[in-house]
Subunit: 406 residues, 2 copies
């Protein structure tokens, strides 16, 4: 049995020449040009690229995003409240919408992250009462989801709810209201605000906690009717690769809801792993965290294995690796490219999967009536022959007539 | 400030003699005869006492229950489905109702434990489909809650839900339906069945898991409108006393729901403690588990401290120690008495709290109009003088006239 059959569809095409006659007994090339599956990565540098005034910096970021775009069709843009709106009313809308549109124009689906979170929260909220904080939280969601509608239609609505009301590293406005309302009431409210602002958006809940606590939270939320489109699972593996056993366990436990699963924040590093005694990854503060040759080989192997397992799972619709380049969060060697943009083995390994193993390219011959059939990975396609080309999408069994354009 | 003020009430009484004249300027004795707070213990031996045909055994159990009754006003009776109904339709109703009535006649409030649990589940259920199991589970609840109404009006409706659907030690009917329906749906159903059968009953959910998972489960259940009367918390401390920090942490996390809290299954042992690597306490199988002199002193100290913290907490309404005597569950030295019924230091320590520190006994003089005032622990009282006696209950501020009977 084909373990990837859920990723593929059968196509039967009938091709016509420009003059309307069937393209009979002709050699054609079928090339997949895009994936339905969401291969994602953090795209924060797209915002930096929009903002920079420095020519060298612009060229550097353009090179980086060029390599980014070769791999990915899906990007996460930052909406951390404390950075997006450092002063009440003064937002980073201009550069963020520019980055989102720039990505969309290149065929990249964009997700905003996150609309509600206790970390990187806006400090100016702290002056308000809990009722006022909640009001501002909901207003913020309505404002941003509405403003980006049509450009960003996918949101991490709320982040890390399991720990949210008991988060005690520092006082913050969102922990306050979550403590007050309880987790389920707060999630209900923020999802309702997002849903009313963009009813067709894909709305995610996202957590690093993959224990039974998150399962039970999801049960409670679904029972309470919260319109969760997909379950977001973080997998920052600075302390070492989960391995197949944990990966399959997480998949099996979270698939029982029948909802799509997004791996939203994946990290596999190419250096020494963080010691196991660290509980909050943010507590690991180092001056430098070098990438090593052995680490890079290991990272490439782990990425290939993990992506292969996730791609084979019918409910997984998206995998996002968090850092595109080394030296971002925690200075970790967590990227597909080094800080100087040079590719690491993991880059080539994932490229091989996305644009090799999992991409359909065929040479076929039409029959006397102009028909051809093939089975291909879901996504966008071009068909071409010496008589011209045409494009089509293959997302379900397809039976279609196409006229080639020259 | 009096840390126990929530356990007390002010009384102002006006006493009259049998002839109707005020009892003026007379010496009276106020004696608390019962507690409003539920001091509980497993009372499984009451069932054994009802069943035994052996005279020596009867005398032994009578001695044991006599010591039990000196301490406790609240007892838990067993309703484990696999034992209560070992063959479908053949129940232990006769001896269980007899035990419940025997306890009630002695002023003991009785709780049934549990109506739904994956452990000690009825094996004959396994032949049925999940729909049929659920139907039988709900029928069983309706049958038993109805049959005992007026005698048992307090139930552990469902036990250990956090682990229930992922319990994998052995296949059983209740795990099957919990996996099928999800935790919240199953809890909803079993509570609804209990509630419709006895709308005034006190209905508990009970768990040994005191982590954030149980909190989130409770959030989800309350949000789903499940009529939970009180939160049940198990505290089997075979692996060592929790200590004040954990105890206060659990109290603080579970008190935010504002519901009454019952410590439903407490164990503190007087022997060597179980090693920390044991995850399921049932895995610790020993031939004997002796009580030691030092262990008995420690157990007494820990019981005094733990009961004192719980009695001081405004939301705690009940504490049940699981085993009255040593050598029951896991053969642990977990009792207030040894296997031969001789009292351990913990027995005297708890007796000192219940019938000493926390019990009101006063000698007062009425004024010229027959009035007297006092503040006492909530519960039942007798007032007596050379002119006779009267009884009254003090559960809230009381202003009452009483005629003494001779």
């Amino acid at each position: 049995m084909d373990q990837l059959s859920h990723r593929k569809a059968d196509a039967r095409l009938r091709l016509f020449k420009v003059d309307g006659t069937p393209l009979s007994e002709a050699c054609v090339t079928i090339d997949q040009t895009g994936h339905r599956f969401l291969f994602g990565c953090g795209a924060f540098d797209a915002v930096a690229l929009m903002k920079t005034q420095d020519e060298a910096q612009r060229a550097f970021l353009q090179e980086r995003m060029g390599k980014w775009l070769r791999l990915f069709n899906y990007g996460t843009l930052p909406f951390y409240w404390g950075r997006y709106e450092p002063e009440e009313g003064k937002t980073a809308y201009a550069e963020t919408i520019a980055a989102a549109k720039w990505l969309r124009d290149k065929g990249v689906q964009v997700k905003g992250h996150p609309l509600c979170w206790h970390t990187v929260c806006a400090p100016w909220l702290m002056q308000y009462s809990n009722e006022e904080i909640l009001q501002r939280q909901l207003d913020r969601i309505r404002r941003d989801v509405t403003a980006y509608k049509g450009v960003i239609d996918m949101w991490d609505v709320i982040n890390e709810v399991v720990i949210m009301p008991v988060f005690d590293k520092y006082d913050n406005a969102v922990t306050r209201i979550c403590k007050d309302l309880g987790r389920i009431r707060l999630v209900k409210e923020v999802f309702a605000a997002a849903k009313e602002s963009n009813p067709d958006a894909v709305l995610l809940i996202n957590d690093f906690n993959t224990s039974v606590s998150y399962e039970i939270l999801l049960e409670g939320l679904l029972e309470a009717g919260v319109p969760i489109s997909a379950i977001g699972i973080q997998s920052h593996q600075h302390q070492g690769y989960w391995g197949l056993e944990k990966l399959n366990d997480v998949l099996s436990r979270f698939s029982r809801f029948g909802l799509p699963i997004h791996f939203t924040e994946n990290t596999l590093i190419s250096g020494e792993i963080m010691p196991p005694h660290i509980v909050d990854l943010n507590d690991w503060q180092v001056d430098s965290w070098p990438s090593t040759p052995e680490g890079e080989e290991r990272q490439a192997r782990e990425i290939s294995e993990m992506y292969s397992v996730l791609f084979a799972h019918p409910l997984v619709e998206a995998i996002t690796t968090w850092d595109f380049n080394d030296g971002c969060w925690l200075k970790a060697p967590s990227g597909f490219v080094h800080e100087d943009n040079s590719e690491k083995p993991a880059y080539y390994a994932l490229d091989q999967l996305i644009h090799g193993t999992w991409e359909t390219h065929e040479k076929l011959v039409t029959d006397s009536e102009g028909y051809l059939s093939f089975t291909g990975f879901k996504g966008d396609y071009a068909v071409s022959s010496e008589f011209g080309t045409a494009v089509f999408a293959l997302n379900e069994p397809l039976n279609r007539e196409l006229r080639l354009n020259t």
